[in-house]
Symmetry: C2
Subunit: 411 residues, 2 copies
């Protein structure tokens, strides 16, 4: 008799976005003429830039000719892409990496979800709260978390609250943790750590032989100095950190699918007997066994991000979104709302006014000004009383939304 993985039964339902859809649909039925603006979406809306489109057309043509056709590529990605990733994203910041330390993949979601496979089941994990749900769910599925309690917390996970009270800077855990998920610039709060703040985590990991799983999918949005783009800007991080990057938000690849993960050869974890093993080798074995690489055409698209034209063009798109972020941030501040993020990230995280719950504020925004956002509590218990808006809408919708909030929302 085939038995299921019973850990799946411990997962919470994917209620957040389903519940949002339910409430929006109900409102639309009752108010068919309402002009609803969605600023909850975590998906980009600007098209791929011309340099990328050109590279894709060329690669498609190559695939149509026997002389230039490409079959299986290296599971880890083509050297033409990896070399440009290293030169532009790391070497330019004084970080040296070998080509076999970078693994090209179909998404940071896949990689942050799959990375836990190379770790033992007895490791204790820590996540910031609120948090991107994939870190938690992938560990629930593997059986590392125990069961969920009435507060929405899994018994064996260490939650690191990030709220206005601690300026969204997580405190070092008091109990032992072995695997630490950090995402900066943060989704959903849009907040960052300074180099000094991140250094504390690297030092902690080195002292405790823990591993930091560092998601820097939003690094391209960093505008301020002293905010690290890569964890490897911190001394010693190569011994303890795996870094995840993505072209999704950087270059509009949410529907095009390309990302990469850096696993330096210095990073080690241990057998129960204390024997050291390179995580680079384990991840390479995982990827070569269960993954067959990113489409050639897509890798050429990602390569084009690093051309002079490509860099100029994606910067324009990022500036477009960050101008939206600024419009939202300044607009909300001007009416006295407490807002966070939106400076080094495309997310604006606001404290709900008058002590409203996340869902109460969701309803208020929908009913009074026909704007859809994301309830903060959907990202974790410490997100209660917060709300996320994103900068990925069109300029027109963003301006209209802010105008409605400023002039028509009763707060």
């Amino acid at each position: 008799m085939a038995i299921i993985n019973e850990n799946y039964l411990k997962l919470q339902g994917n209620y957040l976005f389903a519940e949002i859809a339910r409430r929006v649909n109900k409102y639309k039925e009752e108010n068919p003429d309402a002009n609803i603006i969605r600023l909850g979406i975590g998906d980009v809306t600007r098209p791929l830039v011309p340099a990328i489109i050109k590279a894709m057309h060329e690669a498609v043509d190559e695939m149509g000719k026997a002389e230039t056709f490409r079959g299986y590529g290296p599971e880890q990605g083509y050297s033409f892409l990896i070399s440009k990733i290293i030169d532009n994203d790391y070497k330019a910041r004084g970080i040296s990496l070998d080509e076999d330390e970078v693994f090209v993949s179909d998404g940071a979601k896949s990689d942050t979800g799959n990375i836990q496979e190379i770790f033992g089941l007895d490791n204790l994990i820590a996540v910031t709260d609120p948090v991107y749900p994939v870190y938690v769910d992938s560990n629930v599925m593997a059986g590392r978390t125990g069961v969920i309690d009435s507060s929405g917390r899994f018994g064996k996970i260490t939650y690191l609250p990030c709220t206005a009270e601690n300026s969204f800077v997580p405190e070092l855990p008091k109990n032992r943790v072995d695997m630490i998920y950090l995402c900066f610039p943060n989704n959903p709060t849009g907040m960052t750590l300074s180099k000094e703040q991140l250094k504390k985590w690297v030092d902690y990991a080195r002292e405790n032989k823990s591993i930091i799983l560092y998601d820097s999918a939003y690094e391209a949005f960093i505008k301020e100095d002293n905010v690290p783009h890569s964890i490897y800007e911190i001394e010693g991080a190569k011994e303890v950190a795996i870094e995840f990057r993505s072209f999704s938000k950087t270059a509009g690849f949410t529907g095009t699918r390309c990302a990469y993960t850096v696993v330096p050869k210095e990073v080690v974890a241990y057998t129960k007997n204390g024997e050291e093993h390179q995580l680079n080798k384990l991840w390479n074995r995982r990827q070569t066994t269960k993954f067959n690489g990113v489409p050639y055409v897509i890798q050429r698209a990602a390569e084009a991000v690093y051309t002079e034209e490509g860099q100029k063009q994606i910067k324009e798109t990022i500036d477009y979104y960050m101008t939206n972020a600024s419009i939202i941030r300044e607009g909300l501040k001007s009416i006295g709302l407490q807002v966070f993020g939106g400076v080094n990230a495309p997310y604006i995280w606001l404290k709900t006014p008058k002590g409203l719950s996340s869902w109460e504020f969701f309803d208020k925004l929908l009913n009074e000004v026909n704007i859809v956002g994301t309830p903060g509590v959907g990202f974790g218990p410490s997100g209660e009383g917060y709300f996320r808006l994103t900068a990925f809408g069109s300029r027109e919708n963003t301006e209209e939304a802010v105008e409605r909030i400023k002039t028509r929302l009763e707060i």
Copy 2:
């Protein structure tokens, strides 16, 4: 202290293709002028057909315009592709499927590697021997297999030998097995099961509440009647079988990456307490949590496979390879070699002459006629004494290789 997944240490090294490369390179150094022909390769060589190239160009253009740009798609794949898969690959054979029973992915390697995640660790697995290594390795990594013995077999895996003695038809296991991996047309042997032979497996699974993981990545190469293209042609299979399909060999997508997996809603597995659960729901949860869909451009490419033009064009490519298969098969038979496969699959599996081991024959072929193939023992202990050649080379190389074997190989 972070602990590794110690199951990884039970894996065998990826020695097969590394060892082939080592021997070929050594030969080339010693014989720099040798004209080596590679017929060991499992990768396609013909370009993507014009209908696919056209669809990709169109989709690339859509991605460059704000009005038609696509961000995140459904993790399970776009309806435009799933509906065509169902109509062409299933409905046309009398099999009805709902759209939410088909999951589009980046490859059958990913899916056959990942599918075991939704099953408990106490399930006993069975594989044919020889076998595609991903089925075994992904279960080793998860901890279902025990350790390997000196014969190359993992203690907790049930191996089902497929050799000339049983005409490559695996016998039903005598012990209990819960998860059964079957691949037909088979890689590496190129052999198939008849509907009657496959029905025995479906009946076994229904009686024992086992699950069949059916890899039919090579179904497009089937030429003979009474060879099932889909396991769902067998009565009752929808209750017990998950089917994997791929565009890799069907339409030359090894470097383009698109596949799909069918999980009917009828297929159930159990908790230890005997509670039934739909595997469709578990797989959906796995995919939505750890995967973000196939690139839009690639899904449009796959859709073009099902146009009238696309069908005609990919058939020409398949015929090209199958003519190669026939040239190899008939050429080898004409000099008295015992050959299998190559009729409904692009693989030719030959019994080595004079009782040579797989590696001895490899060296003989390389040294005497400069042809590289794949030693059968690399696919499992029962592959010893066999050798794989593939039909994916160019016509010219295939003809030249067969001519060399016929005229210059001493057997």
